[in-house]
Symmetry: C2
Subunit: 124 residues, 2 copies
């Protein structure tokens, strides 16, 4: 029965409470309430983690919601499943492209760094 307050999550993940509430407005989080106060479950916490990971990757909140919803069970309808598989494959294409870009960039940075260092040595 672990649960979290908004400020606990805010501290743990180093995001503002405003941001967390915003994710709720955008239908990415669904805390329950005790009175007016939001109560976050471990599953909410995982979702927040996933949102922030998506953010680091440059995904929009809409994209993140789509992806996160894919993990959830209870998608029994066949058409829904087919749509999901399609969406997943599209996401994968984007991400594989990103992976490619990323490895190229890292390679470039290696070279740039090596050039800098050798230039430094040449200078003294």
């Amino acid at each position: 029965m672990t649960q979290y307050s908004i400020s606990q999550l805010s501290n743990e993940f180093d995001v503002s409470t405003r941001t967390i509430r915003h994710y709720e407005d955008m239908r990415l989080l669904f805390p329950t309430r005790r009175g007016q106060t939001r109560i976050y479950s471990p599953s909410d916490r995982v979702r927040l983690k996933l949102i922030l990971r998506g953010k680091r990757l440059g995904l929009s909140l809409d994209d993140s919601r789509e992806i996160i919803d894919m993990y959830e069970p209870g998608k029994t309808n066949v058409d829904q499943l087919k749509k999901l598989i399609d969406a997943i494959q599209n996401q994968r294409i984007k991400l594989v492209q990103q992976l490619d870009d990323l490895s190229m960039l890292l390679k470039d940075l290696d070279e740039a760094e090596a050039n800098c260092i050798s230039a430094l040595k040449a200078d003294g």
Copy 2:
């Protein structure tokens, strides 16, 4: 002596001319002019390619400019070089984190897809 018009680059990379001009405003591209008209060199073309790669990775234009400037020679000042190495290492930290996030996301997508497919089979 190959050179490109703005619409040529716009077509090749599938971005608007407005976008290309915007990159110039942001000091990422420096075409020469024939009269009023912009003329892009092969090196401008490469820079544009790098900008778009950065964009796919979610870099800001400021970040991209910083990175692209790292590739350029003529940084003879020692202090400049040290600053560059520092900046490169910072970028690498971010990117390695991104790489990590990315591989986790791809793994998750694999699982989500497998679940979908097996659910489809179970259904018929």
